[in-house]
């Protein structure tokens, strides 16, 4: 089955997630679709599988224009999508899931469904039996079931979104063998990934998206030199030769982000020391992690979303208990500590979801400061208001002490959250500190964070924005599929090298698991 899109456009508000995309995917082949986070891969795949409707352009299946209003229509037309998180009913068996998720015409009887499942599983080499309860299956097996369901419903084009996330190497091999077989039988496979080695291993062609558009001349045949693909993914503007770039978004307090060592760093205890820590969050596991994060430095966590950064962030502020290993905060062993203990130890956490995890939306700025007053049964309203006013002036927050946090803009909320951080904070854990902010607000936030760093506070932040990592980090930790690099001094890292590492290229050379880290 041939799949083509012509001038396909999808906008969300002011964001052009897909901007006049034209591509042609030939039948009987595996096509890779590459791109960094937010490049528009997922949007394109959701348009193709009917989860989203395009704002412009058309989709052609076997040269016939189609309107795919919803996933069912797409599946009837022969396009099925396997999501990153399998969509199934945990309490059901594999067979029951197949039956309830398939239209009646596809699997009219239970016996037929059972036979289809057994036949398809056997043909594709999948280890899945009709009566297995879903709750006992691994993510890989649930994905296999989803593929079987789509094929049983007549899909001739399969879209797989990051299919190897959270599945074992053996399952990935069996998946690849099955995909090759499906392609050989004339089906079309669209393989969305950010892992270059996987794309190189199984794809016949590759298309790269960046900022909602197709990069370069469009689809290119594989194999391609890795360098070329990275260039296409992260932009040709990345400097290949000079490892130290001048920051593009200068901040008053940081003339040069790589001026190390910083005052007093050598004499202070590291903010965090991690020895042999293992932790799990959902499908993602970090194992045997050794790290030492110095005080007075900014550490940027780079990597594609969901590569394990979340686990480290949550470990550092005590929201996730490690399953093994030791974590010391300023030299103190934190075994069995709760996030409250971490907070008393001087760790502050700035979540990305400001109104979900960070602030109490309907309460006012002054009420937030009242909550932060140390002790006292009765609220010192005057004191809280004075503090709120000081924060408003000091942090340039556009609000009054009586404004509910909800009524503030994102940048002002973020500044308010920063203003509430006590002065004696030893370490800051920031999740996407400038998410959703305009350039000026982002710069202001970083000015504040840098001031904290210069005062001796350790700042660890995760972001999907490579420029932000390069502009503000003293050290960079690269995450790739649950593996963590050593602490890489920013001065020794070029944008190109960072992009390579994020894609897993040459990752073994910096893999920090065996070795302990900087200094």
């Amino acid at each position: 089955m041939e799949v083509s899109v012509h001038n396909l456009t999808k906008t969300f508000g002011t964001l052009r997630a897909n901007d006049r995309i034209s591509l042609h995917f030939a039948g009987g082949q595996i096509h890779g679709v590459l791109g960094e986070n937010g490049a528009g891969k997922s949007t394109l795949m959701k348009l193709l599988s009917g989860f989203l409707r395009p704002d412009g352009g058309e989709i052609l299946l076997d040269s016939t224009p189609v309107a795919l209003g919803e996933p069912g229509a797409a599946l009837r037309a022969g396009v099925g999508m396997v999501h990153q998180e399998p969509l199934d009913v945990p309490g059901f068996s594999a067979l029951e899931n197949l039956l309830c998720a398939a239209p009646r015409w596809a699997l009219p009887t239970r016996i037929e469904a059972r036979n289809t499942l057994i036949v398809l599983a056997g043909r594709l080499g999948f280890s899945i039996a009709p009566d297995d309860p879903i709750s006992a299956l691994t993510v890989g097996q649930r994905q296999q079931l989803e593929i079987i369901r789509l094929l049983a419903c007549g899909a001739r084009t399969l879209i797989l979104d990051e299919p190897t996330t959270g599945i074992s190497a053996a399952q990935a091999r069996s998946l690849f063998a099955a995909l090759r077989r499906l392609a050989a039988e004339g089906n079309t496979v669209l393989f969305v990934s950010h892992k270059l080695d996987e794309v190189a291993a199984i794809c016949n062609t590759v298309s790269v998206l960046r900022a909602g558009q197709v990069v370069g001349e469009g689809q290119v045949p594989m194999p391609q030199p890795q360098e070329r693909l990275l260039n296409m993914m992260f932009g040709g503007g990345a400097d290949h030769t000079n490892p130290v770039e001048t920051p593009r978004r200068g901040v008053s307090t940081t003339t040069n982000p790589v001026e190390t060592p910083r005052r007093g760093v050598s004499t202070t205890v590291p903010a965090w020391q991690i020895e042999g820590i293992s932790a799990r969050d959902g499908n993602m596991v970090l194992a045997g992690l050794d790290l030492s994060i110095p005080a007075g430095a900014v550490v940027g966590l780079a990597g594609l979303e969901g590569s394990g950064q979340q686990i480290l962030l949550r470990l550092l502020c005590g929201q996730l208990r490690p399953s093994a290993g030791q974590l010391r905060l300023a030299g103190v062993d934190m075994a069995g500590a709760t996030s409250a203990t971490f907070r008393q130890g001087g760790v502050e956490y700035l979540p990305a979801d400001r109104l979900v995890k960070g602030l109490v939306g309907p309460l006012t700025l002054a009420e937030h400061f009242a909550l932060l007053q140390p002790g006292g049964a009765i609220i010192n309203r005057h004191g809280a208001e004075v503090k709120a006013r000081a924060a408003i002036t000091g942090y340039n927050i556009k609000a009054t002490p009586d404004s509910p946090i909800l009524s503030l803009s994102g940048g002002n909320q973020q500044r308010a959250m920063l203003a509430m951080i006590p002065d004696n904070t030893r370490a800051l854990v920031c999740e996407q500190p400038t998410r959703g902010l305009d350039v000026a607000s982002a710069r202001a936030i970083w000015g504040r964070l840098m001031a904290r760093r210069d005062a001796g506070c350790a700042v660890v932040f995760a972001t999907a924005d490579l420029d932000e990592i390069l502009d503000y980090s003293d050290y960079v930790l690269v995450f790739f599929a649950g593996r963590v690099s050593q602490m890489l001094p920013r001065a020794e890292l070029s944008a190109y090298r960072l992009a390579e590492l994020i894609g897993g290229v040459g990752f073994d050379a910096v893999n920090g698991r065996a070795k302990a880290n900087p200094q």
Binding site: S339, A340, R343, Y349, P351, L355, V356, K357, G358, L359, V360, G361, P362, L363, E367, H368, A370, L371, L372, Q373, G376, A377, I378, I379, I392, T393, N396, I397, K398, A399, T400, D402, S403, P404, S407, M420
Partner: protein
């Protein structure tokens, strides 16, 4: 930078106040129309019915005193629910907490009948508060330790509490010589809370309720504890991040609510029924839930709304005699008020 301290928040404040008034007006009009339709459909003249509901209470001093004796436990329960609502909890177990409070209040009254009455009253109120708080802490424990939603935990414990009351009435505390589900042996008249002349009103009850109302208002609006409770109710995750012990505040609000419901139960025993009856809570806890739903747990509005609901309920009691209609029409009006208020709020929120 001072230039930034500008008008937008004030505008939105004025806006919210106006929209709150609009919501109240819409709810009242909607509820009256709905109730009128119900009245018309059962061939009751609406104006005569409203005359009874709104003004019937004030026709005789007896009715006024009945209203006060209904309003007092209603106020106490509404105060308690104000706390749990602030903490984001739907304490449907309040009926059971009231019943357990009544049972606990009976204990000193039965065991130590020879103590001087004032001391007995203090003991009864203390035991009532403790019993209600204990019953509420069971809800808290189920919710915090075992992740049982407080609504289901509360409803389950309500059945258990009324079972306990019924068992005591029919079993160990039954009237001498005969077991009757109508109630235990009435208390000796000298331990009844003193009343005002021959009326049924016991001034201690409304006084206690009003004192507690002021305390609750102060706690919610002026103390750090109250602010923390609201923060936990509005966003427990963020509250936790800001160092507020969220689960502890949940348990405290439930315990406090249970204690107040228990005091209400003690009032039912000492000043209303003068005995333990199986349905000692008389649905007052559920009525208080309606009160608090209507006022969104704003303590400043507890008194007027609780009083109005008590007036409606007491006034409508004459419906069956005067108009041949059932007195439950007050419940229709109260429920419709809450429903239409929620509806209006939902609509204005969507805009």
């Amino acid at each position: 930078m001072i230039a930034h301290d500008q008008a937008t928040p004030t505008i939105s404040e004025g806006h919210t106040r106006r929209s709150a008034l609009l919501i109240a007006a819409l709810a009242l009009v909607g509820a009256l129309i709905f109730t009128s339709l119900v009245l018309l459909s059962s061939n009751v003249p609406p104006l005569a019915a409203y005359n009874l509901i709104f003004l019937g209470t004030f026709s005789t001093p007896t009715r006024i005193s009945d209203m006060v004796m209904l309003a007092s436990p209603l106020l106490l329960c509404s105060c308690g629910l104000t706390l749990t609502f602030a903490a984001g909890l739907y304490n449907l177990g309040i009926e059971g907490q009231m019943a357990l409070g009544a049972v606990a209040a009976m204990i000193p009254l039965r065991l130590l009948p020879n103590l001087p009455p004032p001391l007995l009253w203090v003991l009864a109120f203390a035991c009532g508060a403790a019993g209600g708080a204990m019953w509420a802490l069971l809800v808290a424990g189920l919710r915090i330790r075992l992740q049982v939603n407080e609504i289901f935990a509360g409803l389950g414990l309500n059945f258990l509490a009324s079972g306990i009351a019924l068992y005591l009435v029919l079993g160990p505390w039954r009237r001498i010589g005969r077991a009757s589900s109508s109630g235990t042996e009435p208390l000796p008249t000298d331990v009844w809370l003193p009343t005002f002349g021959t009326l049924r009103v016991a001034p201690a009850a409304p006084v206690i309720a009003l004192i507690i109302l002021v305390l609750i208002w102060f706690a919610v609006t002026r103390t750090r504890w109250g602010l923390e409770l609201r923060a936990v109710g509005l966003n427990p995750q963020a509250a936790g991040r800001m160092g507020i012990p969220a689960t502890r505040r949940l348990a405290e609000s439930l315990a406090a609510c249970g204690a107040l419901a228990g005091i209400a139960g003690a009032i039912q025993v000492l000043a209303v029924f003068h005995q333990l009856i199986p349905s000692i809570s008389s649905g007052i806890g559920l009525l208080a839930l309606l009160v608090v739903l209507l006022i969104q747990a704003n303590p400043a509005w507890v008194l007027p709304i609780a009083a109005a609901f008590a007036i409606f309920t007491t006034g409508s009691l004459q419906m069956s005699v005067a108009l041949g209609a059932d007195s439950s029409i007050a419940g229709v009006l109260q429920g419709a008020l809450v429903l239409f208020a929620l509806l209006a709020r939902g609509l204005s929120g969507r805009r």
